[in-house]
Symmetry: C2
Subunit: 218 residues, 2 copies
C-alpha cells in the first residue's frame, strides 16, 4: 500500500486547483462531522451535503468510504502533529509543560469535555475494524510521544531533569494520562477528570526534576 495519498493517481492525471480545493473541502467536512458524531455514525451523504459537493466527487477523490476514513486519519494526524510540534518544539522547562497542559485543557473545556481526542476516538473506533488505519494511528501516537520525549530529553540534557528520568516512558505515561483524561472527560461531559489525569502525570514528571521548584517532592 504505497499510496502517497487517498487520491493517488491510478494513472497520471492533471490535478486542478479546483480539484484540490474540493478534496480539501470533503476532508474538512468529514473531519468535523466525524469528530462530533463518530466515524461509523457519519454517512457519506452527510459528508457530501456538508462539503457542498456531490457523490461522484467523493468517489472521484476517494475509492470508497474506507479510503476516505484512512485519508482522514492522515489528515488529522498531520493537523495534530503540526499543532503539537509548534507547541512542543521549544519545550525546555517544566513550566513549558504546564503551559502545554493548560492549552489542551482549555481547548477541551470549550466543549465541556465532549468529543474527546480526534485521534483517540478514531483509534478506538477503527482499531478493531481497519488494520491499516490502526497502524497509521499507532504511528501517529508514536510521533506525538516523540515530540514530548524530545522535549524531555532536552530538559534532561540541560540538567533540568535528573539523569535517571526515562523520557520515553514519561512521554508514554503522559500520553496515556492525556488519552484517558479525554475519554473520562467525554463520558462525564466535564473536563475535570482530564485535568486530574494530566496533573498526575505532570506531578510524576516533576518528581524527576533536579531542583524541585515550589514545594519539594518531599
Amino acid at each position: 500500500m504505497g499510496d502517497e495519498q487517498g487520491a493517488a493517481p491510478t494513472k497520471q492525471r492533471r490535478i486542478s486547483q479546483r480539484g484540490i480545493a474540493t478534496r480539501e473541502r470533503i476532508l474538512d467536512a468529514a473531519n468535523q462531522l466525524m469528530f462530533v458524531r463518530g466515524v461509523n455514525a457519519t454517512t457519506l451523504d452527510d459528508v457530501r451535503e456538508a462539503s457542498q459537493t456531490s457523490k461522484s466527487q467523493l468517489y472521484h477523490h476517494f475509492a470508497d468510504k474506507q479510503d476516505l476514513v484512512r485519508a482522514l486519519v492522515k489528515y488529522r494526524g498531520a493537523l495534530v502533529l503540526q499543532r503539537e510540534g509548534g507547541r512542543l518544539e521549544r519545550l525546555r522547562s517544566f513550566s513549558g509543560l504546564v503551559r502545554w497542559r493548560n492549552a489542551l485543557v482549555q481547548a477541551n473545556s470549550l466543549n465541556n469535555g465532549k468529543y474527546g481526542c480526534g485521534l483517540g476516538s478514531m483509534a478506538v473506533e477503527l482499531s478493531d475494524q481497519d488494520e491499516q488505519a490502526r497502524s497509521m494511528l499507532s504511528e501517529t501516537f508514536a510521533a506525538w510521544e516523540k515530540l514530548i520525549s524530545d522535549g524531555l530529553h532536552r530538559m534532561r540534557d540541560s540538567g533540568a531533569l535528573r539523569q535517571d528520568a526515562d523520557p520515553e516512558k514519561l512521554a508514554t505515561g503522559l500520553m496515556a494520562a492525556l488519552q484517558g483524561g479525554y475519554l473520562l472527560a467525554n463520558a462525564a461531559h466535564n473536563v475535570a477528570p482530564m485535568e486530574v489525569a494530566l496533573d498526575m502525570a505532570l506531578a510524576h514528571i516533576k518528581s524527576f526534576l533536579s531542583q524541585p521548584s515550589g514545594e519539594p517532592t518531599r
Copy 2:
C-alpha cells in the same frame, strides 16, 4: 432511566426460565461480538446468529437495537463492577494495588492489547450518539473509581498513605492511566503502553506512602 431492565414489561407477563435464558444468551452474544468488533459494526443478524435465536426474540426481549445496547451497557457495567469489587474490596496495601495492576495487565496481554476496555470502548463509541448510554457509563466509571478510592481511604486511615493524599483524585488519575493505557495498547496491539501508564500512576500513589518501601521517593 427508571426502567429496571431492558425487558421492562409493558404489561405484566410471566417470564419463564427459558425466556430468561434466551435473553441472557442474546446479551452474552452481543457482549462478545461488540467487544471485538465494536458496537456499531455489529449487526443484529450477527447477534441473532451467534446467540442461536431469531429476530422476533430479539425484539421480544429488547425494544430495538438501542435498547439492546443500553442493556449491554448495564450488563458489562455489572460484570466489571462485580469483578473489580471482588478484587478491590480487600485492598489495604500498596502491594495489593500492584497485584490488581498485574491482573489487569495479564488479562489484556492475552489479547496482545487488542479490544481495549469493554467500558472505555463503549464510552468512546456511544458518548456522542446516545446520551442515556453515556450517562450510565459515566456512572459506572464513577462506581469503579469509588472502589479504588475506598481502598485508598482504607490505606490512608490505616496510616499507609499520608494524610495529604487525596484518594478521589488518585483514583481518577489511576483510572485515566488505565483507560489511556488500554487505548494505546489497543492501537499498538501491544500491552507495553498500558504497563507504563499503570506504573506511572502507581508510582504517583507510591509517592504518597507514609513509609517509602524499597527505594525512597527520591
